[in-house]
Amino acid sequence: MEFLNHLAFGFGVAFSLQNLAYCFAGVALGTLIGVLPGVGPLVTIAMLFPITFHLPAVPAIIMLAGIFYGAQYGGSTTSILVNLPGETASAVTCIDGYQMARQGRAGPALATAALASFFAGCIGTLVIALAGPTLGEWALKFGAAEYTSLMLMALVASAVMTQGDAVKGLAMVVLGLIIGVVGVDVNSGMARYAFGIPELVDGIGFTVVAVGLFAVAEIVMNLESREPREVYTGKVTGLMPTARDIKDAAWPAVRGTVVGSCFGILPGTGPALSSFATYMLEKKLARDPSRFGRGAIEGVAAPEAANNAAAQTAFIPMLTLGIPASATMALMLAALTLQGIATGPQVMLEKPDLFWGLIASMWIGNCLLVVLNLPLVGLWVKLLTVPYRWLFPSIIVFCCIGNFSVNNNPFDVYLCALIGVLGYALVKLECEPAPLLLGYVLGPLLEENLRRALLLSRGDPTVFVTRPISGAFTIATVLIFIIMVVPTVRTRRRTA
């Protein structure tokens, strides 16, 4: 009952006219920047930062939070429409979302993404409200050994991601890994593969890689074909998902929410990893895995649910322990600090209006987002009717702005163009970019944690088995491996 009282109190705070207005401003801005590639919540929040000095703490944090989770909604839009991930986490949505758009199903894809996001956002918020403190403690149980085993499990499972040629898939993962380790090595401080270029010392940014591989390569491919490509709306089959679509998408959205809620709690890995993980899970569970990559609605619903749930639960370490899970969170913490609010383990008790008000505002924000995004579906789909000679240059311009704005450095724009060339070559070679992105994200994390775990154990590799959580992941990895290998062996015997 106490919980309901808290919530009622929270809604009382969030439903004030001022807080509602800031919540709306936050989610609307979040949607907008989510749509623009590269212009992420971090840059936006940094720019708005001085404004928050003049606001009371509660509306300030409600607005900043709205930008953060609102961006997850907007990020799926360009993924689906033009194969351009607006946000790190929506790269996975590109795989099937864009295929759906090509089949004239952009409307249902966008609507499914919005609805799955809404569902996941609500559940994610409920998770914070109900179990925030407990889960915060759980995050502390994840050390270097646990992360290593988790990454290893994810990498083994990623073999599922690859379509067709397994060797090519593996090659892509490794290529991604190589791109991922460019820059200063966390453990030793040595720069690797930087070739004396200072811009490479900090590594190659995700936006640069994702935009280059997906958007630039895709546009070059489209330019290549001579015939005026049919605009995909030519065969639009309705804007809203059919009953069948909803039935297909429901369970994946639920599973995505669960996966996303879990990953969101782990500081640092967050939404991106969760959308990869849930996509793999769906593909493994599907009756007909070959549909994935060809416009399966599950491939949109699950990752979108996952990254939204993760965007909500990512607030748990911050709200319950005062740990910023990402640079964006750190900036929000700083905003609170400058308001004289010490966000630490006691914020729930010391500032109940902030804690419960924020949680209630997340629900309201998610409702606003779905109200904002569903009517926009029609508008977005219309955008596809814009002739390519207008659409393509605009996309490229936005990509350049996005890449430039991260560090205000033109080098990133050139690098993105270069990666676009690589992306084009990969398309020609019929290699999938998604496993590359996975290797790029997971590889460096795996390496960093593996070396750290061994440093902490003074070189004893048994830690991966003897620590309980890590041991569980290791066993799971072995099981996944067996499940994957056994059928192949069997079929081979049969054919032999």
Partner: protein
């Protein structure tokens, strides 16, 4: 050289005209000033810049616009910066990375002579904190315990070359103890590692640490600066606890490109000092755990030289390598 008097007079007149034209020009600044921060948005450097910039705009009557150019611990911003015209319309935020980079990476600029140092804006310090399960309760106990358990204690950091890392290296260098360094990617993961006990020691910035200490999740030992911290006065300095001469601060300074006219440097210095005198800026800086400084260009230049020398010694002694 024998020139007709007429020519000399003419030259003199021309000079006078040029001088009066310069004088007649509107006083600096006539257009917005770019304030370059060598980190992506979100870090303390960025926040300090965004705190001071509005006040500076107010005083100068021109917008001071913060621009982030992150990378290589300020080296990328510095490299671009030193090539800009020394007209006072671009200014740079310096950070401790300015003093450690010369020892860690190959730079295409001179960390002293390519800059006109304006003023030290603020300084903050680190609180040496330990996991509650870690026995030592004071610096003396820590040294004794570390000597007994040589090479067994892990300390965390937010990355190689950060003040979190170097605070610990300086401590080892000055006391002769030996810990194992475990680097994390940023302050967030580093803090998690300390809270979970994966590492035992961490030199984190005072405001972050003090919250955890007051909540009983960590134990504070001592602060790294030359004086006690106003935000956590109950903790002694490491210096007064038996390591004389030990001092590490995280600092935020302002510089212009070398050859910027002295008048402009003074104007900027004056502006920052005035901005720091405003109670609003002062109290917000204090919330961040930083103390406003605002010293003279000469003092700040001397400070930079000292920092570069100090970290050179520590980095060489610790065998830290960069590029």
């Amino acid at each position: 050289m024998r020139q007709p008097l007429v020519y000399r007079l003419l030259a003199l007149m021309l000079l006078a005209v040029a001088a009066s034209a310069a004088l007649a020009q509107a006083p600096y600044p006539v257009k917005p000033i770019r304030f370059i921060v060598g980190f992506p948005p979100g870090g303390t450097n960025d926040i300090v810049a965004r705190l001071v910039a509005p006040k500076m705009s107010e005083i100068l009557g021109q917008q001071v616009v913060v621009e982030n150019r992150g990378g290589a611990n300020t080296a990328i911003a510095s490299e671009m910066f030193v090539r800009l015209p020394p007209d006072g319309y671009t200014i740079l935020m310096n950070a401790p990375g300015h003093a450690t980079n010369p020892w860690l990476i190959k730079l295409n600029y001179d960390s002293i002579h390519d800059f006109a140092f304006v003023t030290l804006i603020a300084e903050s310090q680190n609180l040496l904190s330990v996991h509650p399960s870690f026995p030592p309760r004071s610096v003396k106990e820590l040294i004794a315990f570390s000597k007994k358990h040589r090479g067994e204690i892990n300390y965390g950091s937010s990355g190689i070359g950060t003040t979190v890392h170097l605070s610990a290296e300086l401590f080892q260098y000055m006391t002769g103890v030996k810990w194992v360094h475990v680097a994390y990617k940023g302050g967030g993961p580093g803090l998690v590692a300390l809270l979970s006990g994966e590492v035992s020691l961490y030199f984190g910035n005072v405001p972050t640490m003090i919250r955890q200490v007051r909540a009983g999740r960590l134990r504070g030992i001592a602060v790294s600066g030359p004086e006690r911290s106003a935000a956590a006065p109950e903790f002694p300095t490491i210096q007064e606890s038996g390591v004389p001469g030990y001092s590490v601060t995280t600092w935020y300074g302002l510089s212009a490109p070398a050859k910027t006219p002295r008048a402009i440097v003074d104007r900027l210095n004056d502006t920052v000092v005035k901005a720091l005198n405003s109670p609003d800026v002062r109290s917000r800086l204090r919330d961040l755990g930083a103390n406003g400084v605002g010293n003279t260009p000469e003092q700040y230049t001397a400070f930079i030289r000292e920092e570069i020398d100090k970290w050179g010694k520590v980095i060489k002694a610790a065998g830290i390598k960069g590029d």
